[in-house]
């Protein structure tokens, strides 16, 4: 037993597994949530009143869905969607099962962040795109996304950190992860050193994610 294991009272392999579970949950749900978020955000931006495809019905529906899902606190969402989770994943518990509520949580959150990023793009650029005879798809591909890239990267960064926080709660359905480790071993067994250690690990995760995100966004914006 290494000195660190002696202080933490859990095997380091257990800590390593928890970190792995957290990263798995964050990145899989981030990837799928970003895709859904981007599609919804583009829909909102293109169909809003001033948008190039202005359509108030589509806008109203997407807007309402995003608001509805966002108004459910994550810990409630976790248990509320259990039947859906069972249907999609085949089980209600475990790390993979947690992906369903995590995606449902992060997709609408990212939708709002992405929507803001896309709305920052100068209206004049969209007008120039239209004056060149671009289709709506070409406007997204050649004008909207490249111009919003830096801001979108920062939105993903903010979303990732929010997601990291949400994974801690996924322990409720036995998803594991660093947060779960802190709660079951640290809190319930009153193991303060372990709790402190997991907090340090989470701080390190957040720092790393934010540093990478800020750096990428800066590189995209300053040539």
């Amino acid at each position: 037993m290494s000195p660190l294991e002696a202080i933490l009272e859990v095997p380091l392999s257990r800590v390593g597994l928890a970190a792995e579970e957290t990263l798995y949950m964050v990145f899989v749900s981030l990837f799928l949530g970003s895709l859904i978020g981007l599609v919804l955000a583009l829909t909102l931006v293109l169909t809003n009143e001033d948008g190039i495809l202005g359509n108030r019905y589509v806008y109203a529906v997407v807007n309402a869905v995003v608001n509805t899902v966002r108004s459910v606190p994550f810990v409630i969402l976790l248990v509320f969607v259990l039947p859906l989770t069972k249907f999609i994943v085949g089980t209600r518990i475990g790390t993979t099962a947690a992906l369903v509520p995590l995606i449902l949580f992060i997709a609408p959150y990212l939708t709002r962040l992405f929507e803001n990023s896309l709305l920052e793009v100068d209206k004049g650029i969209l007008e120039a795109a239209q004056s060149m005879g671009a289709t709506w798809f070409e406007i997204i591909r050649y004008f909207l996304l490249p111009e919003a890239k830096g801001s979108l990267i920062l939105s993903v960064t903010t979303g990732t950190i929010g997601l990291l926080g949400a994974t801690a709660m996924a322990g409720v359905i036995g998803a594991g992860g660093v947060g779960d480790l802190a709660l079951t071993y640290g809190y319930e067994r009153l193991n303060f050193p372990l709790m402190l250690f997991t907090v340090v690990v989470l701080i390190a995760f957040v720092q790393i994610i934010q540093t990478i995100g800020s750096h990428l966004a800066f590189k995209v914006r300053h040539h």
Binding site: S131, M132, G133
Partner: protein, 340 residues
């Protein structure tokens, strides 16, 4: 040829309806440089955007070469837009792309192959004088250079019409001159019809051959620059023209005229072209018992034609002055009595 036929446009806003255009008629010939001037809110921007159907009329029609553009949709509309270039006051370049990429975008939209694209972009860069800036980003360029990139981008697909939306309003006077020269070169060498909207009469004077004046959604005056500038009819037009062709008597001279005890009339005499070079006043003094004193004079060049404006104090009997007036008019000058 671009034809506006009784075009009106109403915008619905939260504060009620706004009539942006009211029964506008205008015909723009091929190869013209048509200026549309007016204060902000006059509707000129809406009018310009109807040519590439970014705005459509509430009533009336817009035709290009006999084809109605306001009913086009889908692929036909995009096809039309690819044949009409547009440049903007704020340039509207993609800040995330290099100069090369910005100019290449319209070509990408046409699915041009990379070789053709390279050659065309190089040609355009050299045409606008930015061959060394292909790899630069817009935020590394000056305002004038950005507009040159905008112009190159607008010309990429060989359009037959170029729309300029206050293209020089964000530029300093020297840069404005350089951009206007470039627009003139485009008109001359590529034979593009240029439609430009502006609130600066100087821009119209420098490069346009036709001008239309707009006021609160109405077209108040239109014609050749020479006609309109030498003889503005509407108050709005006079306001604009006066700033480049002064014809207001300075106050100090007005005060000194009050001392005059003899019978006199103030005549505003306009000479255009040939007549501006003849010595009409000398001839008048010889023929009529009238003393003429020039109290104000200005001379400008429009479209290569000289326009002279003189305000003359004519001292003598009423009949003699009238006779002299008629003689001047017979000689091709326009004479107007100035009422104080």
């Amino acid at each position: 040829m671009i034809v506006f036929q009784d075009v009106s446009k109403t915008f619905r806003t939260k504060g009620g309806e706004v009539q942006a255009l009211r029964h506008v008629n205008l015909t723009i010939g091929d190869g013209d440089i048509q200026g549309i001037i007016g204060f902000s809110g006059a509707g000129k921007s809406t009018l310009l955007r109807m040519i590439n159907a970014l705005e459509v009329p509430t009533s009336g029609h817009v035709e290009i070469n006999g084809r109605c553009v306001d009913t086009l949709t889908g692929g036909e509309l995009r096809g039309l837009r690819k044949k009409i270039g547009m440049i903007f006051q704020q340039f509207n370049l993609l800040s995330s792309k290099t100069v090369y990429e910005n100019i290449a975008i319209p070509l990408r939209l046409q699915h041009a192959d990379p070789k053709t694209m390279d050659a065309r972009v190089a040609e355009l860069l050299s045409f606008v004088g930015l061959s060394d800036k292909a790899k630069a980003y817009p935020d590394q360029l000056s305002g004038g250079q950005k507009q040159r990139v905008g112009i190159a981008r607008a010309l990429a697909t060989n359009p037959s019409i170029l729309l300029c939306d206050e293209a020089t309003s964000a530029l300093d006077p020297e840069t404005t001159d350089a951009i206007l020269e470039l627009l003139q070169k485009i008109n001359r060498e590529l034979n593009l019809t240029i439609v430009l909207i502006t609130h600066e009469i100087n821009v119209v004077r420098r490069i346009c051959n036709r001008v239309a004046v707009m006021d609160r959604g109405r077209m108040v005056e239109q014609g050749s620059v020479l006609e309109v500038f030498s003889n503005p009819r509407q108050e709005m037009t006079k306001q604009f023209v006066q700033t480049v062709i002064p014809e207001k008597i300075p106050d100090s001279i007005v005060r000194s005229l009050e001392q005059e005890t003899r019978n006199y009339k103030l005549l505003k005499v306009r000479f255009l072209g040939e007549t501006a070079q003849e010595n009409l006043f000398c001839e008048c003094n010889r023929r009529f018992p009238v003393e003429t004193g020039i109290i104000f004079a200005s001379c400008s060049e429009l479209q290569g034609t000289a326009l002279g404006i003189f305000i003359v104090e004519a001292i003598g009997s009423g009949e003699d002055i009238d006779a002299m007036k008629q003689y001047m008019e017979a000689r091709g000058a326009q004479v107007q009595e100035v009422v104080r």
